[in-house]
Symmetry: C2
Subunit: 402 residues, 2 copies
């Protein structure tokens, strides 16, 4: 079957029927089969124990530690809370370097925990945080106590290079690896770099527990502090911590996590096939470039990100977004307009971040994951190809519609 | 069947068989039947949508607003995060009065959000926070911006009196109602007092969603801020907030909450019967007094709290705890030694809190809730009665054992 839009009026934006019957979310939404889930939950109900460091949560932590090849995987309510807890566990005070082109949760976590973000720019080649800019900030800015490295979109920010920079300047380094589950460097999965790494198991990631996350570390004392900050009672030896919270992980989250961990290789392989299909479909279209993950040997393909060259494509990234949304394709901007231009950080940012500004205006995320079937990806490719062909007419109409 | 311990050596602490085969948790652990839960979860799997303000979360919020008779019930990951979000939504800066005899989460939430706790003492008659002491603190202490009232153990701290005090001194007032679900004042459930109230749906509360909670308020602008602080995307109109977090509530949490809300009247009625059984069993035993909830018309009986008079009972609260734990009865101390004597607050507390100190050494929580059957409560009563009879011998052996 082939899909296309022959005239501008065939586009849903201009009144035609949408390509998809219902909204296709951007991803990932990998979940266990109902039967496997059902059996796991039945066990929880039989034990009549639903949260607070339960048996499944302990089992999931052990499996994760194996997977990551680290001593400690500490499950938490969600990745944001993991990032907040990390600041207190590391005893950070002062300013922390963090990229401006990432989830605003990275900066907000710093603010909640009482330290101040210093934003670094993106690298135009790798799309990851710029090591050169990190270096420059370490040399020029006062009061830096740590680097929060972010491994973006299945790639890596070169954690080993950041470790070297951190050591040279005598600051801490830790990582947000929300996007990096199952990505590898030197034959091993990410999870072992810096003082700790924080993963997210939100439904939009390859491994999901609905909401959830974990912190990985090889440092026993740090792990004990993290477990005590996670909850004021109940897991592991009591050690003195500056503050406790509720970052507890429920048995239901653990049940889903255990099942999804078993099938994550399959999910990854499905993602790879989808990525390759997109590659074939998009390479023929002028002005749209599919990003490949940099700084890793294996990626998880969980973010399908493209850069739009408005001149070549014939319409802006935002105009294409409007076209896709009307067709029930939940494409997304990525971190627009950048954290450094978002509340509450706008006024604090003295530094210009030209690459972040440029990329935040050009990047688009397309659906990939459990629900993005071969057929749906073919339909998305057809819409984008047709949008490019009819770009002039659509861009004009778009201005009228928007 | 009757249960007793005829001699000191019958006690598990001294080598006898424990009264219960396995540990009876302190409560509440009310959960829906497997069949009802199973059907609800099947729907989530069919929709393939697991979190981020999903359809069940929206339905649960609407039902809660009806239940509480308020305009907004905003579900959050857990009650602690609700308390943290509340500080930012209210724009508090400075010092906040909070009781020292409550969950340390109340104070920790203030610290995470950047305000400072000022601890108030307990009222020896109501066991709630002392209104007199709050009054005194408002008169004497500088920089107070708010009162965080805590409705403890199915009773209330007299929210209307605190509202009057807050108005008189020009400070904000809001409430931790983690223990107060389904408790009523003037014919209506708690949930409508102060600027907002925060509830917890942890498994230890009458209404549970495993982990979870909600914030109730009649203030539209405050509700919009809370929804934006809960997540940097996705629910309701975007308004400017000082900070966002991840307080999102999953569909699985909502599914359990909806079912438990339907059956919470039944759970409450079961609790009432358990409370009355305890009353009969304990009234004949010297030196143990069962607390009744004060400041409400209807309580939820979710905390079964007793005060131990060491002289009359013949052994200390802690010695009784050791006896009960050995019998597989998960009795608990309550907030010992008080937040004002716990890290990180020890050094900040200039004020003496004599009632809190006294009560924290004398109070004990006994199991009540879904798993505390009539038979198990009879067994608990028998152990306590026998412990009192053999107090001398047990207390002596206890010192050797501990």
């Amino acid at each position: 079957m082939t899909y296309t839009k022959h005239t501008p009026l065939d586009f849903a934006l201009l009144g035609g029927p949408p390509m998809l019957d219902k909204l296709l979310p951007v991803g990932q939404l990998y979940f266990p089969s109902w039967d496997r889930y059902d059996a796991a939950m039945r066990g929880i109900f039989e034990r009549q124990y639903y949260t607070n460091h339960g048996p499944l949560a302990q089992q999931f932590e052990a499996r994760l530690a194996d997977f990551f090849q680290v001593k400690h995987a500490i499950c938490v309510t969600n990745g944001t809370l993991g990032l907040i807890m990390a600041v207190k566990a590391l005893g950070l005070q002062g300013r922390v370097i963090v990229p401006a082109m990432t989830s605003i949760a990275c900066a907000q976590a710093l603010t909640w925990a009482g330290v101040q973000p210093v934003f670094c720019d993106a690298d135009p080649d790798t799309y990851q945080m710029s090591l050169e800019h990190v270096h420059m900030l370490l040399e020029r800015e006062a009061g830096i106590c740590a680097i929060l490295g972010v491994n973006l979109w299945g790639g890596s920010c070169d954690p080993q290079a950041l470790e070297r920079l951190a050591e040279r300047f005598g600051v801490e380094v830790y990582f947000d690896s929300a996007h990096a589950f199952a990505c590898t460097i030197a034959g091993h999965p990410l999870g072992r770099f810096g003082r700790l790494e924080v993963f997210s198991f939100h439904q939009s990631n390859l491994l999901s527990t609905t909401e959830g996350g974990c912190i990985t570390t090889n440092d026993d004392a740090l792990a004990a502090r993290l477990r005590n900050i996670r909850s004021s009672y109940g897991a592991g030896p009591a050690v003195e911590v500056p503050l406790t919270s509720n970052g507890r992980f429920s048995e239901a989250q653990a049940a889903i996590g255990l099942l999804n961990l078993e099938s994550c290789a399959e999910a990854l392989s499905n993602n790879r096939a989808s990525f390759e299909q997109y590659q074939l479909l998009l390479q023929a279209i002028p002005g749209i470039e599919l990003l490949t993950a940099r700084g890793v040997e294996q990626t998880n393909y969980q973010h399908l990100v493209c850069e739009i060259d408005e001149t070549l494509f014939g319409m802006s990234r935002d105009a294409l977004l409007a076209v896709l949304k009307a067709e029930n394709i939940d494409a997304q901007r990525l971190y627009y307009p950048g954290i450094h231009r978002s509340a509450p950080y706008v006024d604090e940012c003295a530094t210009a971040l030209p690459q972040t500004d440029r990329l935040c205006g050009r990047l688009i995320q397309l659906p990939i994951g459990a629900l993005a079937s071969t057929e749906k990806i073919a339909q998305i490719g057809a819409v984008i190809a047709a949008a490019q062909r009819h770009a002039g007419a659509l861009a004009t109409s778009n201005k009228a519609v928007l």
